[in-house]
């Protein structure tokens, strides 16, 4: 049973690790902070796994835990609480590869800048949307209705597009 749980956990982490890290990145001040937050999320995923009901979608469950931990970290950030999770087996590597075209990099950094400026929950909702999740799943993660999510995403997208346009104008 324990072995099954471990295998299930490792598979879940393998599939979701990059997505989880992206969320952590947007709720952190720097790369080190993002790594700490990422480790905290993984630790809580493992702690919560025995309570996971296998009838529900594991990705939805992972997102809920990730966002709740990220939001909590953000709320407590002013208290300068040091996080003590240190998992030596995790490494974050930056790819300096040329597969990532310059133009994309510029656009991505502008988009990142705009997303970072969004309020706490708006950030989560748009990140979930950008990850390609349907409204129904975002509604299940957030605890809001599907229609509400649809309208909210539209508004957030408009904010992002306006932000991107103004950044483009500044860049010109």
């Amino acid at each position: 049973m324990e072995k099954d749980l471990e295998t299930f956990f490792l598979t879940t982490i393998e599939v979701n690790k990059d997505r989880i890290f992206r969320f952590c990145r947007y709720y952190s001040t720097d790369a080190e902070d993002a790594k700490d937050l990422f480790q905290e999320v993984l630790l809580n995923l493992w702690k919560s796994l025995p309570s996971f009901k296998y009838q529900s979608n594991i990705d939805t469950w992972v997102y809920r835990i990730t966002i709740n931990i990220c939001l909590r970290a953000k709320q407590y950030s002013d208290m300068k609480q040091k996080r003590f999770v240190k998992l030596e087996s995790i490494h974050i590597e930056k790819i300096e590869d040329s597969n990532f075209p310059d133009e994309n990099e510029k656009l991505f950094s502008k988009l990142s800048e705009c997303i970072k400026m969004l309020e706490g929950v708006d950030k989560s909702i748009i990140l979930l949307h950008l990850e390609g999740l349907p409204y129904k799943e975002i509604a299940q993660i957030s605890g809001l209705t599907e229609n509400y999510i649809a309208v909210k995403i539209k508004r957030i997208k408009n904010k992002l597009l306006t932000g991107l346009k103004s950044l483009n104008n500044v860049g010109k």
Binding site: E14, H91, D97, F100, S112, G143, L161
Partner: protein, 195 residues
Amino acid sequence: MLENELEIIWKNSTKAEVVKIDKPEFLTDIDLQLKYFDKNIKKRDRREYIAAAIVTLTFGTGFFFFTGILSKLGLLLGALYGILVIIVLQNAKKQKPDNYSLPIKEYLVQHRKYLVKERNLLKNVIYWYILPPFIGSVLFCIGQYTGVIQFIISITIVSGINVYIYFLNKAAVRKVFDPLIKKIDKTIEDLETIE
């Protein structure tokens, strides 16, 4: 810029940073970390129990050694206070929300409820943490009255300590709990509002 472009830019970002996990060590790592946390929690709990036991034992022993109804009443109050504090603290810890798999809104509401309870505990510190030992000490001092100067000195010391504890808790409410609850309120408001 087209809306779809946002998604395209986003999808490309995966190539910027990669997370690598050494699987064989990972679970051992997690297990060690959890054991470390667990050990620290147990250590903190043990410290609280020991402090409460010392208070209860000291006052309880005094109850049998000192004479006079007021002194005995004061010591009894002190002994009961030790037990009360540990019950209140343990009870508060049990209510800490640790189910992160709840939908965001539900988790925020639960977390807020917990913080409000904690804040109220500190706001009401005078009733469960300050007054019982204070009244106990005053009763004991009256019971053991040996002169006005000694009495005034004892009461001043006891009052001073209690006033300090009171303001310490008041500061925690103002600096920690009020801002945290405000932040959670704002997050819930943002979640529920469409501008």
